[in-house]
Amino acid sequence: MELKAYLLLAAAVFAIGLFGVLTRRNAIGILLGIELMLNAVNINLVAFARYAAVTAGMVFTLFTISITVAEVAVGLAIVIQIFRVRRTVEADHLNLLKG
């Protein structure tokens, strides 16, 4: 397979994830879209690393995967905390800071 095929696949998954982030109302749904986008970036990194035989890309993928897990843990904790206070996880309803 060409490198182009992997990059196109990753671009498609990224676009789908972006669609999810833009259209979901539920905060957890938005987080799922972000997961898909980060996942697409990881495919890009690994594909470039493999085709150029440079391990740096794979090391960076390791870092992005780990950071994403930490991000999800804190993000979901925030969502649950918001839910405790506001009784909603709809992103549109969280406009407390609106002037």
Binding site: M1, E2, K4, Y6, L7, L8, L9, A11, A12, V13, F14, A15, I16, G17, L18, F19, G20, L22, T23, R24, R25, N26, I28, G29, L32, G33, E35, L36, N39, N42, I43, V46, A47, A49, R50, Y51, A52, A53, T55, M58, V59, T61, L62, F63, I65, I67, T68, V69, A70, E71, V72, A73, V74, L76, A77, V79, I80, F83, R84, R87
Partner: protein
């Protein structure tokens, strides 16, 4: 078609369909299950790129950890509100316009760029190469990652503590 091409297109179709179902399905719980499928398929893509170590990391951390966390969060926020987990989407027209434009722009740029069409020869085991790079050249980011995990752990614990 070679076996490699068949494997790639199989993975690609499953990945794209499960990603679409993740963002489109009405039930948020089903969304998470499709996300798990997408993550496992991504692990398969890593395997097809000779990244066995990342395959294992992806399965353990993403498909194991993240999906469990998200399911947990959905259960919690659903039980407290007593509503259904189904959800509406908004701005589907604008969202699909932006996403399709982004994809087409990326694809257009990719077709105009000279990219390597064959893989470089591997000189030895990738997993051991990643391991030695991690503790030599990238040892500072690795240590920073440990600090980040500690911060994330403390942050999550702080949010999850009992109300006084």
């Amino acid at each position: 078609m070679s076996l490699e091409a068949v494997g790639f297109w199989g993975l690609a179709i499953v990945l794209i369909v499960s990603s679409l179902l993740t963002v489109l399905s009405k039930n948020l719980f089903h969304s998470v299950l499709y996300l798990a499928l997408a993550l496992v398929t991504t692990a398969g893509v890593f395997l097809s790129l000779n990244a066995e170590f990342l395959f294992a990391v992806q399965i353990f951390l993403y498909a194991g950890g993240v999906v469990t966390l998200v399911v947990f969060a959905i259960m919690l926020t659903e039980r407290l509100v007593g509503e259904r987990v189904s959800q509406m989407s908004r701005g589907v027209g604008v969202g699909s316009l932006v996403s399709v434009t982004l994809f087409l722009a990326t694809a257009w740029a990719l077709t105009r760029t000279g990219l390597p069409s064959r893989r470089a020869e591997l000189s030895g085991d990738l997993t051991s190469a990643i391991g030695s790079e991690l503790v030599t050249r990238y040892v500072l980011p690795l240590e920073l990652l440990a600090v980040l995990f500690l911060a994330a752990l403390l942050g999550a614990l702080y949010f999850a503590r009992k109300e006084e």
